[in-house]
């Protein structure tokens, strides 16, 4: 039933930064490898590569590494709405639950035009303070996502100003043990400064230039220690004046163990480039080590 996400060949075009990080990771790998966190608490990878829900970057760093551990994880996802498809693959490194480096590549199919748009995203996230489960305060992290749209003709034709851009976000997240009739409740709120149109797939900036802080949120309940259900919301700017809509999803995530997770979601992307009613499905497969 699941559509297997195709493995993106462009992941091989890793930037020198990432290669260096991998070397660093290998040097550190005599440290304990990840596995210290409690099942499910790190969430999955969001489609831009950072640890989070499927849609929103969370304050949690990707994977199960704790303060004495390093972790590596990877995820591929497939989103299918009426007139568009997005295939993503992403890799994350987690250093001591303090620093997360991520790299994602996007293949965006514009079905009506039979066109493929490609984008790469390099991300850094730093946990500032807090522990999502144990601190009284929420866990808070600061992140940056640098996006490069390689196929930029469509974006420029629609009025975008740039083919690359940098998002900066601050995320706060907290898990409340037993908060809803004894079930664990997780919330996350993220404020993001961005100029990206449709997350960067239609370039950056535009005639209606309205770069500002956009708000994103997630709410999830753990039905048992392996299954979480929840909702996400992501506000978006409308720099191109194309009635760009905010995004929503309802998801279910399954964490059979600390090495794999499978997530499915119903997504509502609203209007994309004036094409209305873009609703459909999302699946994601993630591996952790």
């Amino acid at each position: 039933m699941l559509i297997l996400p195709h493995i993106n060949p462009r992941l091989s075009q890793l930037k020198p930064l990432l290669v260096l990080s991998c070397l660093w990771f290998l040097l550190l790998s005599n440290q304990s490898l990840a596995g210290g966190k409690i099942l499910g608490t790190p969430g999955i990878a969001q489609f831009e590569g950072a640890g989070g829900g499927g849609l929103v970057p969370w304050a949690q760093l990707a994977g199960y590494a704790t303060a004495d551990e390093v972790g590596v994880s990877g995820a591929c996802s497939h989103a299918d709405v009426r007139d568009f498809r997005l295939n993503t693959c992403a890799l994350q490194l987690n250093f001591f639950d303090r620093l997360e480096l991520s790299y994602a590549s996007h293949d965006f199919d514009v079905l009506p035009l039979d066109l493929l748009l490609e984008q790469n995203i390099a991300g850094v996230k730093v946990r500032l303070f807090g522990d999502v489960v144990y601190s009284t305060m929420p866990q808070v992290s600061l992140g940056v996502q640098h996006k490069t749209l390689q196929t930029d003709a469509v974006a420029f034709a629609l009025g975008a100003e740039d083919n690359s851009g940098t998002d900066v976000y601050l995320a706060a997240s907290k898990l409340h043990l037993g908060a809803v009739f004894g079930y664990n409740l997780l919330w996350n709120v993220t404020g993001r400064y961005t100029e990206a149109n449709e997350a960067g797939l239609l370039g950056f900036g535009g005639p209606q230039h309205s770069a500002a802080v956009q708000w994103e949120g997630s709410l999830a309940v753990l039905l048992n220690k392996h299954i979480a259900v929840g909702v996400e919301y992501r506000q978006k700017p409308d720099n191109l004046g194309l009635d760009e809509h905010d995004w929503h999803d309802v998801f279910i995530a399954w964490f059979p163990n600390k090495h794999i997770s499978v997530t499915a979601a119903y997504i509502d992307l609203g209007t994309i480039a004036q094409v209305q009613d873009q609703t459909g499905w999302y699946v994601s497969l993630m591996g952790y080590y």
């Binding site: 210290g36 037993g178 079930y183 949120g217 309940v221 506000q235 905010d246």
Partner: protein, 189 residues
């Protein structure tokens, strides 16, 4: 529901064109959407927890009916009182004994005393009729240099022990919520 949401978005948009601050009202709408959508998982949870209370996990439900002369149920009563806490700690001790990662931390412990003190402690934090009279968490764990991963492993062993004791998932979470604040007196000291 989706069409409904779309209509609302459009209405909201029309309104906010007239208003200056676009971002705030959209964020407020998003928040409202989240709350509305989250009714789905919450309803699921309610129906599931309804099932859980009716399920034959009776050991944790029965005893409190016998000795509940008082008003509201305490967590201690809902867990099943002392009998269940004793079973829980016995399972927990067995789990620790079989775990290479955390067993070294317990090498110098007196198992009989640990068992008794942990039962007392669980009884007290779940509002049972006990007063924990052992040493403080900080005194016990100072110098042990317990890291996050090993702490989390002990939490996992406790969860496994609760499962073995047939304590329901919601009650497991509520007990963990009572224990979570103790973490600061346990790790990294």
């Amino acid at each position: 529901m989706v069409i409904h949401a779309e209509l609302l978005i459009k209405l909201q948009r029309n309104l906010q064109d007239a208003v200056v601050s676009a971002n705030f009202s959209r964020a407020a709408y998003g928040l409202w959407w989240l709350v509305r959508q989250s009714l789905l998982p919450i309803l699921l949870v309610v129906s599931l927890s309804g099932c859980a209370t009716m399920s034959p996990v009776a050991p944790s439900e029965l005893p409190h009916k016998i000795d509940s002369g008082q008003q509201a149920d305490t967590l201690y009563q809902r867990l099943g009182g002392r009998v269940v806490l004793e079973q829980l700690v016995d399972n927990f001790v067995k789990g620790i004994a079989a775990d290479k990662q955390v067993l070294p931390y317990f090498a110098k412990s007196n198992v009989t005393r640990f068992r008794l003190m942990f039962i007392e402690h669980l009884c007290e934090v779940s509002d049972g009729p006990c007063r924990y009279q052992g040493d403080s968490m900080r005194d016990i764990h100072t110098g042990m240099h317990i890291n996050e991963a090993d702490f989390n492993r002990v939490v996992e062993l406790l969860v496994i022990a609760m499962e073995q004791t047939k304590i329901s998932y919601p009650l497991q979470n509520q007990l963990l919520a009572r224990l979570a604040p103790l973490r600061n007196g346990i790790i990294g000291i």
